[in-house]
Structure formats: structure tokens, C-alpha cells
Symmetry: C3
Subunit: 347 residues, 3 copies
Amino acid sequence: MTAAPPAPLRLADVASAVGGKVVGDPELLLRGISALDRAGAQELSFLASAKYAKELVTSAAGAVLVTPELADAPGRCANRVVVARPHEAMLALLPRFYRMPERPFVGVHPSAVVAADAVVDPDSCIEAFTVVGAGARIGKGSWVGPHCTIGDGVVVGPDCRLVDQVTLYPGTTLGARVALHAGVRIGCDGFGYVFHEGVHRKIPHVGRCVIGDDVEIGANSTVDRGSLDATEIGAGTKIDNIVHVGHNVRIGRLCLLMAGVMIAGSVRIEDGAVIAGQVGISGHVTIGARATLAAQAGIISDVPPGETWGGFPARPHKEQMRSYAALRKLPELMRRLERLLARESPE
Amino acid sequence: MTAAPPAPLRLADVASAVGGKVVGDPELLLRGISALDRAGAQELSFLASAKYAKELVTSAAGAVLVTPELADAPGRCANRVVVARPHEAMLALLPRFYRMPERPFVGVHPSAVVAADAVVDPDSCIEAFTVVGAGARIGKGSWVGPHCTIGDGVVVGPDCRLVDQVTLYPGTTLGARVALHAGVRIGCDGFGYVFHEGVHRKIPHVGRCVIGDDVEIGANSTVDRGSLDATEIGAGTKIDNIVHVGHNVRIGRLCLLMAGVMIAGSVRIEDGAVIAGQVGISGHVTIGARATLAAQAGIISDVPPGETWGGFPARPHKEQMRSYAALRKLPELMRRLERLLARESPE
Amino acid sequence: MTAAPPAPLRLADVASAVGGKVVGDPELLLRGISALDRAGAQELSFLASAKYAKELVTSAAGAVLVTPELADAPGRCANRVVVARPHEAMLALLPRFYRMPERPFVGVHPSAVVAADAVVDPDSCIEAFTVVGAGARIGKGSWVGPHCTIGDGVVVGPDCRLVDQVTLYPGTTLGARVALHAGVRIGCDGFGYVFHEGVHRKIPHVGRCVIGDDVEIGANSTVDRGSLDATEIGAGTKIDNIVHVGHNVRIGRLCLLMAGVMIAGSVRIEDGAVIAGQVGISGHVTIGARATLAAQAGIISDVPPGETWGGFPARPHKEQMRSYAALRKLPELMRRLERLLARESPE
């Protein structure tokens, strides 16, 4: 991990980097980016919507990115850069103001324990106390942080980043540019037992765990390997912290899974699905492409492509919300109803 | 962690290992086991139910385990082993095709830090960067993976496996054949405070945490120690990934807890209970023997033995599902009802 | 971690430590504290409420702390200390009977990897295999356990404790007396992407993560850093195991968050809020001061100060519980109702 000291930029540099127009002092030096209500005299801020214009009035920011429509919005801050899309411009400027994390060195830290037959690309970084098992391969440009365990035979593709304390069980393969945060566990044994002669006998898990290109997985999440088959996470899918993916699950491309999602075994999630926080999905169901699952939904049946489902047991979100609205009115209605029923149809 | 290269087996060897009958070429060499739709020419597959017979038609498997009833089911694959229970036979064959993980060595890795008065059985394996505290004991046949922390005075029984990055706080005792996956934390301080003079004062946790024989606990799960009393997990209980067990909880024998289950303090779970994913259990309640809790249930009262409960607040599953079914119909009914009530009993 | 062997105390010492009065043998030696149903002849127990008086009858405890009202409650155990508040007295005695965990040494373990420009207070403890990054600072009296990663530029205040395998990403600041349990991850990248040209592009996270004085965070919990702004956890707040706090969240002072809570980005939680297990909070909502959220609540709108909310979508707990009670009666009522409606208002 590397520190991120800001490098100062002139206001004129900011404008030219984002194709905007300077209003005010082009020589003003800026050292970082911050929200309107927090920014100081050496910081750049942004105003992307009239909704926040009142924050500009009192903002102490040194300069501000504004849309043409808001170029003259009242505010203490007279130094402005007029640009069509201030939010996008701000994102584009981040790497100019902040040094992004970089490999602290290239090579293998002397404390790391690397098996004799592991193949570690010379242009990769293996940090302190990391263990690389027999026959494992680490790709060019990859950065494996401290305290990681790369199991025997594991393949880490090019330009991957394993932040710290990541465990890759044997049978794991990472594509290119995979990012795994601290405490991620990939390729764990699935939760599979058969009850036989009075005990739960473990089903050996010999399947693989295949993580596609550009996947990012948040801290302390877990992905089990397949039993026979493979568990697969498709390219470009992003997973938040503390998510569990069970054995034999196949997740498509470009999905988003938020914190606390738990996915049981053999689930299929098709491309572009969005799964909100704390959703649970029962074994063997299919979530269609581009479906959205609302927070805390409990999925026990297939969800068609493109639909938004919620609640437990989950069903189309709008129907579910209508039921919840009716449920709010139910106690009052029930009082009136019981009186009516007693009169009309005594049982 | 060790790699798992398949050792080839003749079809005749497969048949004799499972007590089945060869149809086709007994000399055919097989190198692994796979599902019908994924198996290749050197792989064995299995057909246990007529439901999947259509997958046999196109399967490219080299050979297939079939029941006597399905021995002649149509399919490209002519090499078959006829056996009463193909699924059980397949499980029995797994250790023949795949080398199960084995200790990479016996002894203590030179990088491990072991306290002078710790008692480590000479027939155990302590991998790189593991720390074993003062007075701790590691039993015969145990395998402690890399980056583990075995606290002072902890007892690890015989034939245990701690995969990687496991933390055992002081006060922890593991029985025999306990398996703890990557990132498991056992014996953590419980969440106990008293609000006193305007702050939350921590209640010191001095109780123990006792894990029975043959318990398996999934990746990134946590079990707190008792406050005064012990937290106990009974023999043969299996726990999935990302599960939390609070202080003073007592879990019986042969229970199953799925991913995302959170159990508050002082809960009692009797033998053979099955707790589905993301269930939450409030403090001090009792789950009866062989009870089943449906996924995402919120338990705030005792559950009788043998019953299946679900929902929030949880109650018998069938009743709960009837209520959910009624809830689906409620919005429509309510429209008709409000009209009726307006007519019949205006208020 | 250090072992906690009990130091024996005379009953007279116990009484004088808590300002109580001895009944029985003042020379009796006691070696620990335990619950009435578990205590042995050398252990002290306590009876704080008449509700548990029947456990005193058969308790094998060597001595018991009792209230004046219960001083003569019947029981095998004749050695007693009469004191106004037995439970508080017991908590005060815990550090006399049990040695609390203490730093095993002062200084830096030879295996630790500390950057040349890191500032480690000479009165701190850095245990085995810990990595301290460039420019990081570790305060006086702090105790950093094994396998921790302290990112570049991180500030750890005085008297902190990081138990084991804790990751502090760059941008993290800990106040004084912060306690972080095994596997905690602080300052992780938030879950922020913009969908642009067919892929989820990561928003760089350059904000900070600021943990206040006396905060305690349980095992395997995660706290993301801010995107531009900071994520903040206020002084005296206590967080249980397996909790997730998203980017830009601001939690006030003296809050309690139980196991499994997941908080999305930019949420505000004001002072003294209590959030029960498995609660989920959607992005950008505010939880008012001293509000209580019931277990498994799904919060999708602001919660006023001091109120108790529950359910999904959450609303005032009492209303929600009335709806749940009505829901229980709904199936039966619906049967009668459908008959009535068929008769009264056929559609």
C-alpha cells in the first residue's frame, strides 16, 4: 500500500484537463478535491445540480467545477471551471490529484515463502509473509499484498491485485485485472454433507473456482469452489464486502452484488443482474439477465430477466410494495371488518 | 494446501471399487468425475434419476454410472457401470480420482513462532508464519495452515485442520478432527457492555469456547467466548461461511447452520437442528431438537422440537406461508372490502 | 495474547473489594467466578434477583454475592457476601480473579516489517509478522497483534489494541483506546462504480476513514473509507462481529451495532442509536439520536430521534407488530370474507 499525497495543480491545468473554461484566477494552486460543505481554500469542489446550489453560497472551496447553467450561481467562491459534466470531470481529475496505490516494489519480498516450482512473473510484486504454493502461477503486472496464501496450482492472471490476507484455495483461477480486497477467501470447500450412519459425512469438493477478468470482490467475502463442476464469476462483475457465493454458482458478466448478499449452491445469475444488500438466494434458482433484487429480498424461485423483485418470498417488487401498503392499513380495517363479519356471517 | 492431480483408473477398477457391473470397454482409462453436461472422453459421470436421462443422450462422458433401471437409457456413451446407487458410488470414488489435501510436511515451519512452553505434537504440521502462544497444545495428526494465531493456553485436539489465517483466542479448546476454514475466529470477546456514567463499559469476557469433535466451520465465521460460562458447539455440527455465534451460546450435536446465520448471546440450539441461510436468533431463546428454521427467519421466541418455523417474527412455517399467500391477495381484496365497509358500516 | 490464570482471593478480600459484608468463612479461598448452576467449591457466584433463587438451592458454589433481601435465601452455599448490587460487584471483581490480556512484550518483534520512516512509539508492542507501512504512526501504549497490516500513512492513536490479522488501509486514523478484533478491515475502497461504455468503471476512493476514541469493532467486520469525504465512527461506539459500514457513513457517539448489520453508503447515524442484529440501512438515510432499530429491520427512510422502528420497509415498531399480528389472523378472516364479498358485492 502506498500513501496518496496530493500533487498541486493550477486552476488552468484543471480546466485544460477536463476541457473546461476558467473563470477567476488561472494560477490558483489546488491540492485536492472535496465536497462543497467540506472543501477549503486549496481544494476544488463541484456543483453538478441546482439542488446543491445553496451549498455553494457558503462553501469555502478554492475553486469549483460548474455547469454552464450554474456558472453564475451565487457563492463566496469566485474561481470556477465551467464544464458540461462536473461530476464526470471530477472523477477524471482524481488520478491527477491523488496518487493511486502502486506496487511498493517489483519482485518477491525476502520474507515470502514461494514454492520452488511456482512460476512468478518477474514483473510482479509479492509482499511480505505471502505464501505461494507448489505449481502456482502469478501473472505479469500482478500485485499480491502481505499475508496472502496462494494455494497449490492456483493461477493468478496478469495485473491482478490481492490487497492483503487473501486466501486462494487450490482449484482457483483468476483472470486478468481481478481485484480482491483484504480477507477475501476464494475456492473454499462448499457446504455439502450427506447424512449417513448417524453423522454428516463431508462431500469432498474437487471442482474449481474461476474468477473472470475485471472482477472486484470486497473485504471478507467468500466464494466456494464447485463440488465437481466449477463455481464461476463472469467478467466485469463487482461484489461488495461480506458476500457469500456458494458452490457451483455461476454468475454472469457485469453483475453487481451489494454487501451481505448470500447465495446458496448451484444458483445461476445471468448477465447484468443487480442484487441489493442482504438479499438471500436459495439453491438452484435462476436470476434472469438484468433483473434487480431489492434489499433483503428472499429469493426461492426463478426471477425473469429484467424484472425487479423483492420481499419474502420474493415476487415482483411493485406487487410486494402494494401488499406492504395494504398490510399497514390491515389492523384498522380488521377491527371494522370483525364487527361487520360478526353481524353478517356469525360462525 | 496440496494440489489434486487425478490418478487414472480403468473402468474395470471403477466397477470393482463400487461393486458394479461393467458394460463396454473395461480397459477405458478415466481421469476424473464430472457432470453429464460437462464431462469429456476421459471423465466418468453418473445418472441417478430418469429426470436427467435426456442429458445422457448428448453427454460426451467417457463412461457413466447408472442404475439397473437406466442401464439401457439412450446416449452416445456406451461405457457404463451399473450400480444400485450411482450418486453414493460417485462420492465413494472421489478419493480414488482426486488426491485429497495432505499436510505438506510434518513438523514446524522455520518461520513459525512457537512459544517455548507450547506443546506441539511431533506428528503435527505447523505451516509458515503461524504463531503458537504460551502453554498452547497442538494434538497429534493436526495440520495448522499458514498465518494462524493460536492464543496462549489454547488446546487443539488430534487430527484437526486449520486451513489458513484462523484466530483462536485464549480460552479456546478444539476437540478431535475439527476443521476450521480460512479466516475463522474462535473465542472472540462477546458483545457485552453496561452503560455506566455515560459510557458503554466493556464486560470482561473470561469464559471459554469449546468446539466438539468433528465440527467444521466455514470461512470468515466467528464464535465468541462465554462471558463467565462457556460457548459450546457440539460434536458433528457443521457451520457454513460467514456465520456468527454469540457469547454463551450452546449448540448441540449434529446441527447444520447455513451461511449468514447470526445467533445472539445465550441461545440454546438442541441436537440436530437445521438453520437455513441468514436466519437471526434473538438472545436467550431455545431451538428444540431437530427443529428446522427457514431461510431469513427472525426467531424471537422458543421453537419446539421437530417443528419448522419461518418468517418474522417466526412461527410455524406452514401458517406463515398461508399468511404470505393471503398477503398477496390482500391489496385486491382490500379495494373491494373498503367499498363494502363504506356501505355497510360507515364510521 | 496472554493466558488468564486465576489468582486466588480470600472471601474477606472479596468483601472488602466490593464494600460488602461476609457471612460464613472469611478465609475461604476462591479461584474464579461462575454462574450458579456451573460454579464449583472454589468459585464465587452471584444472586442478583429472586428470579434465580431456586438455582441457589442446589448450587455447588463456594461462595455467593447476594443482595441484603436475598441474604438468607435457602441454599447449600453458606458462604456469602452481602452487597447492594451483586452483578456490578461481580463485574468489578473480574479483573481481580482473571488476568486481563496484556502485551507480551514492549517493542517490535524481530519478524515484523516496519518501514524506515514509520514512527512507532517505544512504549508500544508490534507482534510477529505485522507490516507497518511508510509514514505510519503507532501511538504510545498501543498493542498491535500478529499478522496485521498498517497501511502507509495510517495513524494509530495511544492505547489501541489490534488483536490479530487486522487490515488498516491507507487513509485510516484511529483515536485513543480503539479496540479492533481479529480480521477487522478498516478503510477499504467503497463500492462505487459508474456504468460507462459498457463496463462498471471504478470510482477511485480517496477519502479517509476516521475511528473515534474508545470505539470497539468485532471480528471480521469491515468499514469502507470515504469516496472524497471521510467515513467516521464517533467516540464510544461499539460494533459487533461481521458488520459492514459503507463509504461516507457518519456514525455518532455511543452507538451500538449488533452482528450482521449492513449500512450502505452516506448513511448518518446520530448519537446513542441502537441497531439490532442483521438490520440493513439503505444509502443516504438518517437514523436519529437514540433511535432503536429492531432486529432484521430494513430501513429505507429516515428514522426520527428516539423512536423504535422495525420490519421491512421499516416503520414504528408497535405499528409494525400490530400489522404482523393482523397478518396472523388474515388467512382465516379471508376465508370468511371471501364468502361475504361473493354474496354482497359480486364482481
